[in-house]
C-alpha cells in the first residue's frame, strides 16, 4: 500500500516535471510585449503554452531575487540592469548562442547588448524592444518646453510631472550640461553630479503637480490637461497623440535617454528550450511588427519595422529627426552600488520642502 502510494506520487511528480519542462513558458515581461494574438500563434506553432506576468525593471529583479532566479523561464529587464543584478544576486544564467537564430537580430544592437550584458566572460542578454524616455508635451499650452530643465520654467508652474526615479536624475544632469554616464565608474564624481541635480530638483519642486508612478497615471494627467509637460516614455506620448494632436513626444535638446529591453534566462528557469523558441519566434519580422503595433516601440528584429502601421511611423519620425537619433544617450550598465547613492538623493528630494 505504502509502496504503491509512493511510486504513484513519484510518477506524478516526474510527470508534472516533464510536462513543465516541455511545455509551459513562464514569461516575466512588460505590458504589451506579449500580445494575445502573438501568444496564440506561438502556441499553435510550437505546442508550448505561455503564462505572462507583466512587471517593470525593479519588480522583475525583486521577484527573481526572492526565488534565487526561479519561478520564471524568461525575463525581459533593460540591458543596463543585468550585470549589476547578476553580480549582486546571481539570478540569471548565461545564454547558449547556438540556440539563438542570430540572423534575426540587427547586428549592431546584438553586439552592443552582448557587450553591455557580459559578466565574467559570459553573455546574458539579447536585445528585444528599444525606446526612449524624454518629454511629453502639450504643445498648445507648453510649447516652450524643449529640454528637461524647462520643466522648472515659471510658465508651467504646478502643471508638470515626472517620476522620482533614476531616469529623472540622469535626464536633468544632461540638461544641466553634465555627463553622468561618463562618471558612472567614479563614485566621487557621480556623487558631485547627484548633488547638483538634487539642488536643481529641490528648487524645481514647487513646479511639480505630483510625482507620477505608473504609465496610466501620467497619461490620464496629460489627457485631462492637468499636466501640460512631463518626463515620460516616447510610446506614452505617441498614444496620447492619437487622441489629441497637440500632445506629443519631444526628444529633449540634451538628448532622449535610450533603453533596450532584453531577453534573459532566470537562473532556475525550467523551460529553456521553450524560452529559445519564444525568442526565435518573436524576433521574426512579421511577429516583431505585431509587437511594435501593440507596445508602440520598435524592436531589434531585422526588417521588424516593415509591417508597422504608418501612423506610428509618422509619429516616430515627427519626434526624431536624424540629429535627435544620433543624440540619444544609451544607458550603459549600472555599476553595482550606484543605485544606493541615487536612492539617498531621491529620498532627500522627496523629503525637501
Amino acid at each position: 500500500m505504502k509502496i504503491t502510494f509512493l511510486t504513484s506520487l513519484l510518477a506524478a511528480t516526474a510527470l508534472s516535471a516533464s510536462l513543465a519542462q516541455a511545455d509551459t513558458l513562464r514569461l516575466l515581461t512588460w505590458g504589451g510585449y506579449a500580445p494575445e494574438d502573438v501568444i496564440a500563434k506561438f502556441e499553435a506553432e510550437t505546442g508550448h503554452t505561455v503564462e505572462v506576468t507583466t512587471s517593470n525593471n525593479e519588480e522583475m529583479i525583486a521577484k527573481l531575487r526572492a526565488t534565487n532566479g526561479g519561478g520564471f523561464d524568461l525575463a525581459q529587464p533593460s540591458q543596463d540592469r543585468i550585470t549589476s543584478a547578476q553580480e549582486e544576486f546571481g539570478i540569471y544564467k548565461p545564454l547558449d548562442m547556438s540556440k539563438v537564430n542570430a540572423a534575426l537580430f540587427i547586428p549592431s544592437m546584438l553586439s552592443a547588448t552582448a557587450k553591455n550584458t557580459t559578466y565574467d566572460g559570459e553573455v546574458y542578454g539579447l536585445p528585444h524592444v528599444w525606446g526612449t524616455s524624454g518629454l511629453v508635451v502639450n504643445t498648445a499650452m507648453a510649447g516652450n518646453v524643449q529640454d528637461y530643465t524647462d520643466l522648472c520654467d515659471a510658465s508651467v508652474t504646478g502643471k508638470v510631472s515626472y517620476r522620482l526615479k533614476r531616469p529623472t536624475l540622469i535626464g536633468f544632469a544632461y540638461s544641466m550640461g553634465l555627463d553622468p554616464f561618463a562618471a558612472y565608474s567614479d563614485t566621487a564624481a557621480y556623487q558631485d553630479i547627484l548633488d547638483q541635480v538634487e539642488a536643481k530638483l529641490t528648487e524645481c519642486k514647487p513646479n511639480v503637480k505630483t510625482y507620477w508612478g505608473g504609465g496610466d497615471e501620467i497619461k490620464n494627467l496629460l489627457r485631462s490637461g492637468e499636466v501640460v509637460a512631463a518626463m515620460a516614455w516616447d510610446t506614452g506620448g505617441w498614444q496620447l497623440n492619437a487622441d489629441n494632436p497637440d500632445i506629443t513626444f519631444v526628444a529633449p535638446e540634451a538628448g532622449a535617454l535610450g533603453w533596450i529591453d532584453t531577453f534573459v534566462l532566470p537562473a532556475r528557469g525550467r523551460a529553456d528550450d521553450a524560452a529559445y523558441d519564444w525568442i526565435n519566434f518573436v524576433m521574426r519580422p512579421d511577429i516583431a511588427a505585431m509587437i511594435t503595433n501593440t507596445a508602440g516601440n520598435f524592436t531589434a528584429a531585422v526588417d521588424g519595422d516593415g509591417g508597422v502601421s504608418a501612423d506610428l511611423k509618422a509619429r516616430y519620425q515627427g519626434s526624431f529627426d536624424q540629429a535627435a537619433i544620433d543624440n540619444i544617450k544609451w544607458y550603459p550598465p549600472v555599476p553595482a552600488g550606484l543605485e544606493a547613492l541615487e536612492g539617498a538623493t531621491l529620498d532627500r528630494i522627496n523629503a525637501a520642502n
Partner: protein
C-alpha cells in the same frame, strides 16, 4: 484511552491555528529579522550587525517619516471615532428592526468593492478636472478649477473612509449591549444629555472605542494604497518607504529593519493607548 482520543482531537483542532501562526507569521518574521541584522559590505558579502537599525535613527528622513505616519494615523483614528460614534449610536439606540439592518448594510456596501476601486473613486471626485471641482465651477462658487487631490487632507479623507466600518461595527456591538433603562434612569435622576453621554454611554462603550481605535490605527499605519495614490509630492508614508527599499533600491536589509521598527513602534503606541485609556487588550478584544 478516552482522554487520549480527546487530546488527539484537541491537537487536531489546534493544528490549523498553530500552522497558521508558525508558517505564516513566526517563520517569516524570523527570516525577516535575520535579513534585517545583516549589513551589506559588498556584492554578495554580508556581516551581522545592527547597522540597518542605526541607519533609521541616524537618517532624519526615516524617523521623521515614521513620526509623520504615526501622527497622521492617530489623527485619522480620532476623526474616524468622531464620525463613527454618532452613526453607531444612531444605529444601535435610535433605530430597530429593518431600519437598523438597512443602515448597517449601507455602512458595509462600500466594502464590497476592493480598496483600490474605492481609492480610484476618490481620485475621480477630487482631481482638478474631477466631479467636485467641476460641480463647484458649474454652481459658480469658484471661478477656476481647484485641485483637491495630492495633499494630506486627501490622504486623511481616504483613510477615514477606508476604515470607518471597522470603528462602527465594534461600537454598534458595545452600544447594543447597553440597557436602555440605564439611560432612562439617568434622565429620571435629573441628568442632562451631556452628562448621561459622559457618565453612562461613553464609559460603557469604552472597550468598543478602544478596540475600534486599535484596528483603525493599525489599518491606517499599515495602509499603502491610499497614501500613495491620494498623497502628493511631500506626502511620505512609512509603508511606501519600506516598499521603496525592497523593490526599487534592492535594499532588503534596510527594508526588513524598517519593517521591524514599524512593528515595534506601532505595538508601543497601542500599548500606550491602552494604558492611557486604562483598558486591557483582553478586555477590549473579548467584549467588542
Amino acid at each position: 484511552m478516552g482522554s487520549d482520543t480527546s487530546r488527539l482531537g484537541f491537537y487536531l483542532l489546534l493544528a490549523p491555528i498553530l500552522l497558521w501562526l508558525i508558517v505564516l507569521i513566526i517563520l517569516p518574521h524570523i527570516g525577516l529579522f535575520i535579513v534585517s541584522i545583516s549589513e551589506k559590505v559588498g556584492p554578495r558579502e554580508f556581516e551581522t550587525g545592527f547597522g540597518n537599525y542605526a541607519t533609521f535613527f541616524g537618517e532624519p528622513l526615516y524617523w521623521r517619516t515614521f513620526a509623520r505616519t504615526a501622527i497622521m494615523s492617530i489623527l485619522a483614528t480620532a476623526l474616524t471615532l468622531i464620525l463613527g460614534f454618532p452613526i453607531a449610536y444612531y444605529i444601535a439606540k435610535l433605530t430597530r428592526g429593518r431600519t437598523k439592518t438597512t443602515l448597517f448594510l449601507m455602512c458595509m456596501i462600500p466594502f464590497w468593492v476592493s480598496e483600490l476601486v474605492r481609492t480610484f473613486g476618490w481620485m475621480i471626485l477630487l482631481r482638478e478636472t474631477g466631479v467636485i471641482s467641476t460641480a463647484l465651477q458649474n454652481l459658480g462658487l469658484i471661478s477656476g478649477p481647484v485641485e483637491l487631490l495630492y495633499n494630506d487632507a486627501a490622504i486623511m479623507v481616504g483613510l477615514v473612509y477606508t476604515s470607518i466600518l471597522f470603528m462602527v461595527v465594534p461600537l454598534v456591538t458595545t452600544l447594543d449591549s447597553l440597557d436602555n433603562s440605564l439611560i432612562e434612569a439617568g434622565y429620571d435622576l435629573g441628568g442632562t444629555s451631556t452628562s448621561i453621554m459622559r457618565e453612562i454611554v461613553i464609559p460603557h462603550a469604552m472597550p468598543g472605542i478602544v478596540s475600534g481605535g486599535i484596528v483603525v490605527f493599525m489599518l491606517s499605519l499599515g495602509n499603502y494604497l491610499t497614501p500613495i495614490l491620494l498623497g502628493g509630492k511631500d506626502s511620505l508614508w512609512f509603508t511606501g518607504m519600506i516598499y521603496t527599499q525592497f523593490i526599487t533600491r534592492f535594499n532588503w536589509e534596510l527594508g526588513s529593519a524598517l519593517g521591524f521598527l514599524l512593528l515595534a513602534l506601532s505595538s508601543g503606541i497601542v500599548f500606550l493607548g491602552l494604558k492611557l485609556s486604562r483598558q486591557s487588550l483582553s478586555d477590549t478584544m473579548g467584549r467588542a
